[in-house]
């Protein structure tokens, strides 16, 4: 019998705040959009934003575009969305 060590190790915890960053109105959540810059995504989320707004069940928030498709969005962009939105729809991953 031999002993061997697990190669994976601990992962950094990504603890999230337990409360939203702004007061919520559950009946009319603010939905923002993050465009990852891929082809036709701007057209899709613009169309989707219009459709969702027509239902009168939510408010449309900011629509931002990532500067670099495959990299994480910069902090200031995330902060802008977090200040304003209850939900953020992002995409399109492919």
């Amino acid at each position: 019998m031999i002993e061997v060590l697990d190669p994976r190790g601990q992962a950094m915890s990504l603890a999230r705040p337990s409360a939203p960053t702004r007061p919520r109105d559950p009946s009319h959540p603010v939905v923002g959009f993050m465009d990852n810059g891929k082809y036709n995504v701007h057209a899709l989320i613009t169309e989707l934003g219009q459709l969702l707004s027509e239902t009168d069940l939510l408010k449309q928030g900011a629509q931002v575009k990532k500067p670099v498709t495959s990299k994480a969005a910069p902090d200031e962009l995330l902060a802008e969305l977090a200040r304003e939105c209850d939900w953020v729809i992002n995409g399109v991953g492919d």
Binding site: N40, L44, K71
Partner: protein
């Protein structure tokens, strides 16, 4: 956004839903809302199709908005010490690692505590020191965990400082490791080693520099791959969705052939002293051969090289690596050309006609990355393959023969090469 307390809905095409959910689980976000959508990143997708996709997404978004709020994930704290497993013998341990999905497809050396201790003895560091955090799993690469993977790769204890320096280099933000770990692109971190360490560890920069046959080249880079998989959670087919993969994902490491280099080596260009040892990480496609058995002048040879670097489908506007064979380097330097001269020549000559580029679909997506000085309205313009001469990295490697290699990188500004000194030797 989730870390900021904002719920998200992620849209992705069907083949990438599993990747998205796998990475979400790795990042303490089980149950992340993911909506599959039809593939739309094509110029022939019209407004009617986009409207239909938006209608489909709208119905799913409404359902998600109306469901009970998810609970925030709790902080996960696990033991920092490696878990110990038991196997009947070495062969059984090899099979156990296959079963757990902890290999690159080749058998690993079972990392026994004795071997890991021997590896750790080669560096004066606390084994629990966190060297880096590896995406997408956000795995903590402690010195000890790096050593476990280095043993598995077949490294000798003397290799560990090179592996640690490479881990530090590839986790610098400008290297863009998160995207490299999960992209459909066929890219792998290429390790270029410079300085005295190449002789001390017999890292090959001569004949067959890209392999096979040298233990140091093979195992140091294999350790990086195992670290990316096991600590970083880059699992082929799940979190790693490379369309084709890359032979260099098994191992991809060369030394610069400094004895045959008529110019200053790469690490000196990057500001390190000549007697330092260093490793440069470059996110690279596969190396591509350039044959020129006839040219006897710098301009003739570089004309061949420039012609080889022009191809429509490979990534543009990032860095490119030119690996000059010693015989080609001697011809160019013999004509009195410096590295800077080579870069400027290639920047001017390795260009694509705009008319061709316009037919390349990717051009539409990255048009805003082209240099500001380039006139997008000039149909006769010739467009460089990099944004500036400095983005052509030049090293000398390989053995006898009138050949060189060029190695495309990835889009700027996704990834920039990073050079790191190797200390603790």
């Amino acid at each position: 956004m989730e870390q900021r307390g904002v719920a998200t809905i992620t849209l992705c095409t069907e083949p990438f839903v599993k990747q998205a959910s796998t990475i979400a689980e790795m990042m303490d976000m089980p149950g992340l809302a993911i909506i599959p959508v039809a593939h739309l990143a094509r110029e022939d997708v019209g407004q009617d199709q986009i409207h239909q996709i938006a209608l489909d997404v709208q119905a799913r978004v409404n359902a998600i908005l109306n469901r009970p709020e998810r609970q925030s994930a709790q902080t996960q704290v696990t033991s920092p010490k490696p878990e110990i497993l038991h196997a009947a013998g070495l062969l059984q341990a090899i099979e156990l690692f296959y079963e757990r999905g902890w290999t690159d497809g080749l058998p690993v050396v079972p990392p026994t505590p004795t071997q890991v201790q021997a590896m750790l003895a080669s560096v004066p560091r606390d084994p629990q020191e966190v060297v880096a955090c590896i995406p997408p799993r956000q795995g903590l690469a402690t010195v000890e965990r790096i050593a476990v993977n280095a043993v598995m790769a077949g490294c000798l204890p003397g290799h560990l400082p090179v592996v640690i320096a490479a881990v530090q280099a590839m986790t610098e933000d400008r290297f863009g490791l998160r995207a490299i770990q999960s992209s459909t692109h066929s890219i792998a971190p290429l390790l270029i080693v410079n300085g005295a360490v190449t002789k001390r560890l017999d890292i090959n920069g001569g004949s067959n520099a890209f392999g096979p046959g040298w233990r140091s080249n093979a195992t140091i880079s294999r350790a990086i791959r195992l670290i990316l998989m096991n600590i970083g959670g880059s699992i082929a087919g799940l979190s790693d969705k490379s369309t084709f993969g890359h032979p260099g994902k098994y191992t991809y490491c060369i030394a610069e052939n400094e004895a045959a280099n008529p110019w200053e080596p790469l690490h000196v260009e990057r500001g390190l002293p000549g007697d330092a040892s260093a490793v440069t990480l470059f996110a690279a496609e596969a190396p591509q051969n350039i044959s020129d058995h006839a040219s006897g002048t710098a301009s003739g040879l570089l004309s061949t090289i420039a012609g080889s670097m022009i191809s429509l489908g490979s990534s543009k506007l990032g860095e490119m690596l030119l690996v000059l064979g010693p015989e080609h380097a001697a011809i160019i330097a013999g004509d009195g050309w410096s590295k800077a001269d080579v870069r400027h020549y290639l920047f001017e000559k390795a260009r694509l006609p705009f008319e061709k580029l316009k037919s390349w679909g990717d051009f539409l997506g990255i048009a805003d990355l082209w240099p500001h000085w380039w006139n997008l309205t000039d149909a006769h313009a010739r467009v460089p393959v990099v944004r500036r001469p400095e983005d052509i990295l030049i090293i000398v490697a390989g053995g006898a023969g009138t050949r060189s290699m060029w190695v495309p990188g990835v889009y700027a500004p996704l990834s920039r090469s990073v050079t790191r000194a190797i200390t603790e030797m």
